[in-house]
């Protein structure tokens, strides 16, 4: 036997309840919806391939009906019920065949994924590339800030800095991005400033910042920076101050200190920050929706949205969504391998 107490009935009951709830969550809210999405991405509706032959048959049947109706008018009374029966039978058959003709058939295959070619594939790849850039940019921007916050001497200073980082995050994502829209728009703050300085001609209508990818970058870094700052901060904070002092004492430069001591220690934090930022950027719908408004080229999420709610083609939309999910999974896997981090450490 193994160790473990004698589990009584009520303990098994409680544990069973926990398993039940966990199963509802894992299957009902996570796995089954994903499976249904994948299933939806693997079929589409098509006209029945035999539809032409069917319509010819229907046409023939219609002509027969017409003939019988002519016969009916000419026929003697005693033959009429027979003809009427026949006509009714023919009409029934027509109705049946017409229903079949209009009924599209479900066809399984990978065609929905193949639809992502040309422009859509370009958008997909560009979105992934931009998301990697946003991730690297966020890492570069946040590293010094998180380091400063984690090494702040006074508790108070540290708390205030953290508070300053958190406050913008309590404000809704859309409104945060909207604030940048007001800066970068044609009539925005930046253009007004440039006009005032005489760097831009008022008549030209200002510089079209919103058509440049960097504006989306700036807003996106802004929108998701906390997801980089906090994992980094937690990782830096758990580094023993004495290790830093020892490295300094042994004459390490700032570069060497970070390369050999800080970064190896903060591996999991950096990995988590990168994974979260990439995932949020690649899947972001709000930021490109607000910032580019179709001016600066699409983000992949916008394509997905249109497939669902404008083209109303859920099958293609599901295929695109699953492609995005796969890309994110691959990225997570790559980062975890690169930083040699396990799934247990990917949790804040």
């Amino acid at each position: 036997m193994s160790s473990g107490a004698l589990a009584s009935l009520d303990r098994r009951l409680l544990s069973g309840l926990c398993w039940l709830l966990a199963a509802i969550w894992v299957f009902g809210l996570v796995l089954l919806p994903q499976l249904f999405m994948i299933e939806t991405s693997l079929w589409w509706l098509e006209r029945d391939p035999q539809a032409t032959a069917l319509s010819q048959r229907i046409d023939r049947l219609y002509q027969e009906v017409m003939l019988r109706e002519l016969d009916l008018q000419a026929a003697p009374v005693e033959r009429r019920p027979l003809l009427e029966d026949e006509i009714a039978r023919l009409r029934e058959e027509i109705a049946l065949l017409e229903a079949r003709e209009q009924q599209p058939v479900k066809v399984y295959g990978f065609a929905n994924y193949a639809r992502m070619s040309g422009l859509h594939l370009q958008v997909f790849l560009r979105t992934l590339a931009y998301s990697v850039l946003v991730t690297l940019l966020s890492l570069a921007v946040c590293y010094p800030v998180a380091w400063t916050a984690a090494r702040a001497r006074s508790r108070r200073g540290r708390a205030l800095l953290l508070l300053a980082l958190v406050i913008p995050y309590a404000i809704n994502e859309l409104l945060r991005v909207y604030a940048w829209l007001m800066i970068f728009d044609y009539e925005g703050l930046l253009n007004a400033l440039l006009v005032r300085l005489g760097l831009v001609d008022r008549q030209s209508g200002g510089i079209p910042f919103l058509t440049y990818p960097f504006t989306t970058f700036v807003a996106m870094v802004y929108a998701y920076i906390l997801f980089m700052v906090f994992p980094l901060y937690n990782a830096f904070e758990s580094l023993d101050e004495h290790q830093v002092e020892a490295a300094r004492d042994l004459g390490a430069s700032t570069w060497l200190l970070h390369r050999r001591v800080v970064v190896p220690h903060a591996r999991p934090g950096i990995a988590v920050g990168c994974v979260m930022t990439f995932m949020l950027s690649a899947g972001s719908y709000s930021v490109p929706q607000i910032m580019s408004r179709g001016l600066g080229g699409d983000w992949f999420s916008q394509l997905v949205y249109r497939q669902f709610f404008e083209a109303n083609n859920w099958n293609i939309g599901a295929a695109y969504a699953f492609s995005l999910l796969l890309a994110c999974l691959v990225f997570v896997g790559l980062v975890m391998r690169l930083f040699r981090v396990g799934i247990r450490e990917i949790a804040r």
């Binding site: 926990c18 398993w19 400063t148 002092e245 994110c328």
Partner: protein
């Protein structure tokens, strides 16, 4: 700031942090300012004079107000669903060891690592197949799928600090599993549950990406704001922003004040 380094390097770092904070706060300032501009479109460059008229205008905006009501209903639903699910998940994980635990853990945190729009889409498709149209219900479930993961992580962290001998002591004294759960485990988890509830509520209230894909013809405050970006903006949106900023500042100050006081008591 510490970590040695020359005085110049430290100055540069401090300057950098100051710039960073400006980057964080300047846009909010610009956005807030436009809420007080007497001009029909949100702007700070075309100054039409100071006004408060956009504030009462917000109260006239029925879609925004109903969106707020919907947001509150959905957030309450998310709290009611994701807390029990997250707790059950954490308790199940605690019972498991080895490979099975690792696998289940990965499945349970996967919603956090999945783009929000995909959670929305998969929920939308799943429930349509079951004949349930998109609406507040599907939005609630889509949000709960990942918010439960956050709750699970918080409960798991707390459970790891639970003294297992307390469980044995309770059983030794004749307690049933339910009495142990009610009288010992739940009180121990209560502070975490409170924090998790607040976080779940805020996550739900603020959510856009998942909600916009799963809510169908219904709307929340946030998706309504999102649709305004397509169909015409007015400074009323800036007013909403100002209210968000105010609420945040009030709550943050309250939090700082409370924690300072708690430290003073000890």
């Amino acid at each position: 700031m510490n970590g040695g380094g020359s005085r110049a390097a430290r100055f540069l770092l401090d300057l950098y942090v100051a710039l960073f904070l400006a980057y964080m706060f300047a846009p909010l300032l610009v956005m807030s300012l436009a809420a007080f501009n007497d001009y029909p479109y949100p702007s700070v460059t075309q100054w039409g004079g100071f006004t408060l008229r956009w504030f009462p205008a917000l109260l006239q905006d029925e879609r925004l107000l109903r969106g707020l009501a919907h947001s509150l209903v959905i957030a309450a639903g998310v709290v009611a669903i994701s807390l029990p699910l997250g707790l059950a998940g954490a308790l199940v994980l605690q019972q498991l060891r080895g490979r099975a635990a690792g696998f289940l853990y990965a499945v349970m945190v996967s919603p956090i690592l999945t783009p929000g729009i995909i959670l929305g889409i998969s929920t939308l498709i799943f429930w349509r197949e079951l004949g349930v149209p998109a609406g507040k219900f599907t939005a609630t479930l889509a949000q709960s799928s990942f918010i439960a993961s956050y709750a699970m992580l918080m409960f798991l962290a707390r459970l790891q600090r639970f003294d297992p001998t307390l469980e044995e002591a309770a059983y030794d004294l004749g307690a049933s599993a339910f009495l142990f759960f009610r009288r010992i485990l739940l009180p121990f988890l209560a502070p975490t549950a409170a924090t998790a509830a607040v976080i779940a509520f805020l996550q739900s209230f603020e959510n856009y990406n998942t909600t916009v894909f799963s809510i169908g013809g219904d709307w929340t405050l946030v998706t309504e704001i999102g649709s305004r970006f397509r169909f015409g903006l007015s400074p009323v949106i800036n007013v909403v922003g100002v209210l968000f900023v105010l609420a945040t500042v009030v709550f943050a100050s309250l939090w700082v004040w409370l924690s300072e006081r708690r430290r003073a008591v000890r």
